[in-house]
């Protein structure tokens, strides 16, 4: 019921091409998921102890400049807002817990999609090509991005159910497949104080990893445990500030293909969404195997 795509560029000069290369991938996978889409892009970190908060207004109209003035008054004069249709990135060095609280109190209908120094996250309903147009994804710049297209079952297709799901800071996850024990996982995690926003099975996977990482596991160690505890069929594609990570379950019945050149690593549910990429004819193309954790680091030269 989904398509997933991911892209990581290997040279600084290619950062500005990230969105242009990723957008056709996303639109193509709209065949697998025409109802809603989400995209997380990672770019150079904001400095000076600041964080970016990705905000989404849904169907409501919001006066972003008014929100910005209130934030400068209530939180800190350093607040900057970059708005893009019903989406905005709010940057500030204020303590994130304070910011969350301020948003929940003052703007309860706003969705906080992500928090981090590198991540910016978009979600909306509609066919992926509508999102590409609305948010000008083709102009996005960054080191790496993951995106997801969704075939929804709930009638009011809400952005809350759209992937990517986030946990903590600078972490997101997209999922293709169907977990068979998400409720058991959710109840176990809720007992440990982890809050869920949806009953979507993907969120169970995301919160499981959040739990393990907040307990000190690396992402890879958390995924090893996830392969044991999560049941069902899943291809998971994740991103942190400095890497892309992919894993498939033991059955490996949900598709995934990767293509790598000197310039990029591209991942998709179907090869045809990669066919437009430059140099694809000479790319190394492979299919990730079951129960193996694949990760690609952003190269240090890119991060500088």
């Amino acid at each position: 019921m989904c398509g997933i795509v991911g892209l990581l560029v290997k040279r600084p000069a290619l950062r500005d091409s990230l969105g242009a290369w990723l957008s056709p991938m996303l639109v193509c996978m709209g065949d697998r998921g025409p109802d809603s889409a989400g995209l997380a892009v990672f770019s150079l970190p904001v400095g000076d102890g600041k964080r970016r908060f990705s905000l989404y207004a849904g169907l409501e109209t919001i006066d972003w400049s008014q929100l910005a003035s209130r934030a400068r008054a209530d939180l800190s004069p350093d607040v900057e807002i970059e708005s893009n249709a019903n989406h905005a990135g709010l940057t500030t060095a204020s303590d994130p817990t304070r910011v969350r609280g301020w948003l929940e109190d003052g703007f309860p209908s706003l969705h906080l999609l992500s928090v981090g120094r590198s991540i910016d996250l978009f979600k909306d309903t509609g066919h992926p090509r509508e999102l590409v147009d609305r948010y000008a994804f083709a102009r996005l710049s960054g080191t790496h991005a993951v995106a997801h297209t969704r075939m929804a079952t709930e009638s009011a297709v809400t952005p809350a159910h759209a992937h990517p799901f986030t946990a903590g800071e600078d972490f997101c996850l997209v999922h293709n497949g169907s977990l068979s024990n998400p409720n058991t996982i959710r109840r176990k995690l809720e007992k440990r104080g982890i809050r869920f926003q949806t009953d979507n099975d993907t969120e169970a996977a995301c919160r499981f990893l959040e739990w393990r990482m907040s307990a000190g596991d690396s992402l890879e160690a958390a995924l090893e445990k996830g392969l044991v505890e999560l049941d069902g069929f899943f291809t998971l594609l994740m991103a942190t500030a400095d890497k892309l990570v992919l894993v498939r379950d033991a059955f490996a019945c949900k598709p995934a293909v990767a293509a790598e050149t000197d310039d990029y690593v591209a991942i998709s549910s179907e090869f045809r969404s990669l066919a437009h990429l430059p140099g694809i004819k000479d790319a190394e193309i492979f299919e990730p195997g079951p129960e193996r954790i694949y990760s690609w680091n952003v190269s240090p030269s890119l991060a500088g």
Partner: protein
Amino acid sequence: MSEFTSLEESAGFDRHVLAYIHQAAETGLYEIRGLGAKRRVPSFDDLVFLTASISRYPLEGYREKCVTKTVLGTRFAKRPLELEIPITIAGMSFGALSANVKEALGTAATQCGTSTTTGDGGMTPEERKSSKTLVYQCLPSRYGFNPDDLRQADAIEMVIGQGAKPGGGGMLLGQKVSARVAAMRTLPEGIDQRSACRHPDWTGPDDLAIKLEELREITDWQVPIFVKLGATRVRDDVKLAVKSGADVIVLDGMQGGTAATQQVFIEHAGIPTLAALPLAVEALDDMNMLGEVQLIISGGIRTGADVAKALALGADAVSIGQGVLMALGCNRSDYQTTDGPRDAGADYEALGAAPGYCHHCHTGRCPVGITTQDPVLEQRLTPAEGARRLRNYLNVLAMELTTLARACGKSNVHHLEREDLVALTVEAAAMARVPLAGTSWIPGQHPQQGI
């Protein structure tokens, strides 16, 4: 000793459960049997019609028309199915049934202007020849599946599951894997057939969409594609089937039959047909697909009243399997010979069954020659006699359907609506989402709330 002693049976450990435990302990074998769920569940019997009165006028039978014509598969296909009655014959395999029976089904269906469906074993020439409208199933096993038959089909039915065993694969025990069956299924003769529960070349609705597209490409987008589901997570499944490209949804409730599967599946998996149907209608309505994607309901449809109630609750048609076999003679105490009827009692007894209690399709020793590959037993039902019985049954169903529809003032059976029904029990009211008779109460629904 008191004169008031009596034998007291336990409800939990009744004779059926005792027999199950004793057999399990003795043999180490779990029970495999045919037909569908035997235990009582809320069903169409728990609904009644609000027929004509002062506020609603009935139609005269015979003189005033009541249309039964039914079109299936209008969404994408160039050639939708046009049926005379909203009653189709469900998928049942050659292998489960004899060749004579498959031919009888086709003949009767053609005479009544409706369709038959192949099963988990492929298309026989007898059925294709005798059945004017033939739906070709594509199952996880792909036994006998081939492009020549696919191109001859009038519709394709992608089987995700069936009501008797949603999540389970097919099964045919060795005694029914005759030479002909084995050849069609590419199996050694006489072995127990194991079947896959998932399709080999796709998993999940996103990849199903691509698979349905392939079948359309191979058949040049001419014929409708049905998607058949066993009734479990009905709302989500129907929506995903529609999004995957289904022209028609076939939904099979837990009372649906099989020729052979584990007892645990039959009785303990899937939800009643009565509960499944409104969920499917709601899912289609949510997607604004009512009328564009047709809905066929199956699983224990027996009478014209069942058909009428199913249509009233929103189905476009029903599909019948077990009822059709019973029309042919399943569980009858006799079978026909050229010298007249002969009693089959001894043959039932040899199976450990009796007429009216038999569910031993899996043995291949069907006393009335229906679910068998045995050449001697097969002769107990000729294609002509089978066709005659089935035609009669279908005609009776159609007459009962139109009788009730006319009594509700409908000139077209597809105008039956859920407001024509009330329920006799609280469970049925809740499942069917119609009021409990004598009240305006639908359990689980706020009075002001739309359904």
